[in-house]
Amino acid sequence: MIHKSAAASTERVFLPVRKHHDHAQTRHTPAGPACGHRCRIPLLHEGGPMVRHVMRKAAGWLAMIVVATNVTYVLAAWFLDPRSNYRGLRPVRTEQQIDHALTPYNLDPRVPLAVRWWHWFSDVVLHFDWGKSPVGASVNSEIGFRVLVSGQLVTAATLLSVVAGVALSVFTASRQYGWWDRITQLVSVFLFNVPAAVAALAVVFAGIWLNQHLGWRFLYVAGEASPTVSGLWPTVADRFQHLILPTLSLTVLGYVGYHLTQRSLLLDSINSDFVRTARATGLTRAQAIRRHALRASLIPTATSVAFSIPAIFTGAVITETVFGWNGMGQYFVQTIAKNDVHGAVAVAAFGAAMTAIGAVLADVAVVLLDPRVRVS
């Protein structure tokens, strides 16, 4: 946050801050005093309240996905016009013929929206059938492999971004205003300003250049797999070669946020009283930062991971377009261009689910990092 509230010790703030510790809920392990260093890792079986806490959160997110998906359905049905897919066809069809052709796919505009929605919704809930495109292709079969393709891209990029961003911030924060700090910050601020498309194309350009100079086509700039490779290990290697550049370009965009925010969070907590106390007990500045400031400052970062997933997903849409990946991102562009209501909704559901998974993992991370959540 930007403003530090003046910590006036007025009585007003005393309200329910000081919580009584409830023995039944705290559940200290009955081990001896030696547990001091180990007790901080909460094991799932000892933290009944923690599991419940995460479950409650997960249920909330599930509700969020359901609402988000349904809202998208209504919007998509409203804004996309599946009939336009048939208008350009020869022989020219009448509007009625077109509507008739759309009927089996639950896209007939003459049917009231509520009815279409109900068909769609019950199919999703009962059969996990996400419907058909305007030309009759099954959405399920389209998204099956795409989910995996995009899932691995988004997951890898998110993990790499978090790790790279946090590591860089720790490295530079203890050298505040030194050369490394300045250079990495400069680079990050610059990357922060580069549009995803430009970054992706720059990575493509660099990849091509590297391949040419190495004289060996190691990095692939198009597609997610080569069609000709067979065998387990060659396939894995091939996939990996395809994955490098898109992941890199997504990471380049994603790590920046973590680096800059984590750096400032760290610097804020470096100036906090408890780091000063830690230094007063004999830790060097760098030690105090690593042992005391870092973990406390990771807590807000963990929560922000969830909210950054939509951005990563947006980045993935562009990255996949640039790299010609058959993933959810590219599918998303296609579905909107082709007025594919059901396909677009499935993409929205995928995006919301990714966010929710990220959020639940972030919650788990917060619980692990912050004893206050556990104890209270």
Partner: protein
């Protein structure tokens, strides 16, 4: 307890032991927008083993910067010169790694705010054992065991279990004990305590000072005790240094300094501080003016502008610290005149002739505020997202009092006693959760028409604790003063006229109207706060800790202003303050609160000289007196524990868990204390002095 410390011997009585810490010509400056801030200038002192040097000064005097300079914990931008010799080794100029070998081992430090001084995510046992393992090669187990011992030593109950607790599970006093344990963990030869009790309640302060004594006795360390509280220094320090504008202006033994202050600043400071044992008719004498800016210091003595003894030479030449026979060192050009009695200390700051007798004026006036059976609860919730109610906090249990025009009622109590909640409930002007509030004869629950509601608003106004927090930084003084008038619908001319009237009333120059709060000093800000409260010509002014955010030398002038305004305008004051000495000065009557209940009430003098409730007694006893002889000879009642949370009220007397009297009672009376809540009863027929205790 099997705790022995290698270097534990009684403070050497023999010929001058070598100092453990010698500071020589320490100067610290910070770069700033306006130029270098000279926070500390040419400070020198010695700390002997087992002895305590108290450093007193007001905010901005450089005392905390001195502490940080000794520890090497200043921001990297700070410029430090001089020498800090710890056992002969100079610490100035060492790098962070070299200093880290000294911190914690050679010097331990206790910080001001215990609530933020501990890492929230580690158990206190882990923090302690980590601190031990930084300097000693101990196994984890051994360090942990030693940590538990240390917790026991500083008086943490059930140390085995507590070691596994996290800081947020502890109260402020308990956390400060942990911080002290951290400071003494590696038996340092020096302990630096920077305002160790400022953030704590007065009964807890007494405990913490006791713990500091234990720590010092255990380690045999010399101590640097930094505080603004002259009473704390008087009771604790062997030697006292007074700092002003970055320099030590007087340094002497505690007895000598308090007995015969010689630097005019020290004289003024001691005259301005209210004393709990003194009757209210001894007026407080403020030091006029404000401390100078540390950016562009005047050429001569930095106190010259405020000094009644200043001569022309004072403005051109800064006096050096010079030894005064039998007294220590003083930095003043006129030290000779003052020391030999040529210039009587008493005559320097003459009391303003205060014609009217304080207190008597208001009694018998119209009752303007009547509170009966006031109750207020807060839900105690749990869970970050879905808040579940897990209990009820009884912030105010059952509070009744009356306030007459021209009179001052003081609500006294520690944090959590419900005194501020009581004020806020009155200020809301809505029907309270329980009981009734009547303002100038109107029940706030039945205000009726909007005009009547507006009338009520005009009748009650508030002055808040922290003037920098209660004045919107984006508004000019004029806008600030105009706001309450606009809210009651005054027109532009009225507002113009009233604003200049108000400034005159609070003795502010008309030139401040277009300034912003940040360009005002603390005292000026609080004057604006008072002027704003008076804008609508209220009958009742509620004052929430009106002087606690101010320095002692400024505090006195605000107290005097409040007294003057009351006399001139016939205001009724309802004051909340934790500083009982101030309360004795301003209040006609006092009500002592504990856990949301008034446990004793009576006329101020009566209550102070003859407290009846054991809590009142302990509270009064806990206030440190700025007089070393009195402070060291009088009997202290130190309460155990801290005020519990009001979410689990005892069903009997609210004070029963900490009551020192309870232990002395027979079983029948104990049973009564446990089960039956005592009512306020008169000490004698017709007496206004009432208290709620079964045993007395």
């Amino acid at each position: 307890m099997t705790l022995t410390t290698a270097g534990m011997h009684p403070p050497a009585e023999s010929a001058a032991p070598a100092p453990v810490l010698s500071v020589r010509d320490l100067s610290i400056s910070f770069p700033s927008e306006a130029g270098p801030v000279q926070a500390v200038r040419q400070v020198s002192f010695d700390v002997l083993p087992g002895q305590t040097l108290g450093i007193v000064g007001e905010s901005g005097s450089g005392k905390s910067a001195t502490a940080m300079g000794i520890m090497g914990l200043l921001p990297e931008t700070a410029h430090v010169s001089g020498r800090v010799l710890l056992g002969g080794r100079d610490l100035v100029g060492l790098n962070d790694r070299q200093l880290s070998a000294v911190r914690g081992k050679g010097i331990g430090m206790v910080f001001q705010d215990p609530l933020s001084a501990l890492t929230p995510i580690f158990s206190v046992g882990r923090q302690l054992s980590d601190a031990l393992r930084v300097h000693q090669s101990l196994t984890k187990q051994a360090a942990w065991n030693r940590a538990v011992e240390l917790l026991d030593l500083v008086g943490i109950p059930d140390p085995h279990r507590s070691a596994r607790s996290f800081p947020h599970e502890f109260s402020g006093g308990m956390r400060q004990r942990v911080v002290i344990a951290l400071a003494m963990a590696n038996s340092p030869s020096v302990i630096v305590a920077d305002e160790p009790t400022t953030a704590l309640d007065v009964t807890v302060q007494a405990q913490i000072l006791g713990v500091l004594r234990t720590a010092q006795a255990e380690t045999g360390a010399g101590m640097v005790l930094i505080t603004h509280d002259l009473g704390v220094v008087a009771g604790y320090a062997d030697e006292v240094a007074v700092m002003y504008a970055g320099r030590i202006v007087e340094q002497a033994g505690a007895k000598e300094l308090f007995g015969r202050p010689t630097m005019p600043y020290t004289i003024g400071l001691l005259g301005a501080v209210p004393r709990p044992q003194a009757r209210a008719d001894r007026p407080l004498v403020p030091i006029t003016g404000e401390p100078p800016s540390l950016v562009k210091l005047p050429a001569g003595c930095s106190f010259a502008d405020r000094c009644p003894a200043a001569v022309d030479a004072c403005r051109t030449q800064e006096p050096a610290l010079a030894a005064v026979p039998g007294h220590g060192q003083v930095a003043c050009l006129r030290v000779g005149d003052i020391a030999d009695g040529h210039l009587a200390a008493d005559s320097l700051f003459p009391a303003v002739a205060d014609a009217e007798e304080h207190g008597g004026a208001g009694s018998g006036g119209e009752v303007v505020l009547r509170v009966a059976g006031l109750a207020k609860t807060f839900p105690v919730t749990k869970g970050a997202l879905l808040k579940r109610r897990v209990g009820t906090l009884h912030a105010v249990g059952d509070v009744s009092f009356e306030l007459q025009a021209g009179q001052t009622l003081g609500l006294v109590g520690e944090s959590g006693s419900g005194k501020t909640t009581t004020l806020l409930e009155i200020m809301r002007l809505r029907q309270p959760e329980g009981g009734r509030i009547e303002i100038v004869g109107t029940d706030v629950a039945a205000q009726g028409s909007p005009e009547r509601a507006r009338e009520l608003r005009r009748a009650v106004q508030i002055v808040m604790q922290d003037p920098s927090g209660s004045l919107d930084p984006r508004l000019s003084v004029f806008q600030l003063l105009a706001e309450p008038l606009q809210a009651v619908g005054a027109d532009r001319e009225t507002i113009q006229a009233r604003v200049s009237e108000l400034l005159h009333l609070v003795q502010l120059d008309a030139s401040v109207t277009d300034r912003f709060p940040s360009a005002l000093s603390g005292g000026q800000r609080q004057r604006v706060g008072i002027a704003r409260a008076l804008a609508t010509e209220p009958r009742i002014v509620v004052l929430d800790e009106p002087v606690s955010a101010l320095d002692v030398s400024v505090q006195a002038s605000i107290v005097n202003l409040l007294t003057k305004l009351q006399r001139e305008l016939g205001l009724a004051y309802l004051i909340v303050a934790h500083d009982l000495a101030v309360m004795r000065h301003v209040s006609d009557r006092i009500a002592v609160m504990y856990l949301g209940h008034i446990i004793e009430t009576g006329d101020t003098e009566d209550l102070f000289t003859n407290p009846r409730h054991p809590y009142t007694e302990a509270l009064l006893s806990a206030i440190p007196v700025p007089d070393p002889q009195l402070e060291r000879s009088r009997e202290h009642i130190v309460l155990e524990g801290e005020q519990p949370s009001a979410s689990r009220l005892p069903s009997g007397c609210v004070f029963v868990d900490r009551c020192p009297l309870y232990r002395l009672l027979d079983d029948g009376l104990r049973q009564r204390c446990r089960t039956e809540r005592p009512l306020l009863g008169s000490a004698g027929p017709g007496s206004g002095h009432r208290h709620a205790c079964h045993a007395r």
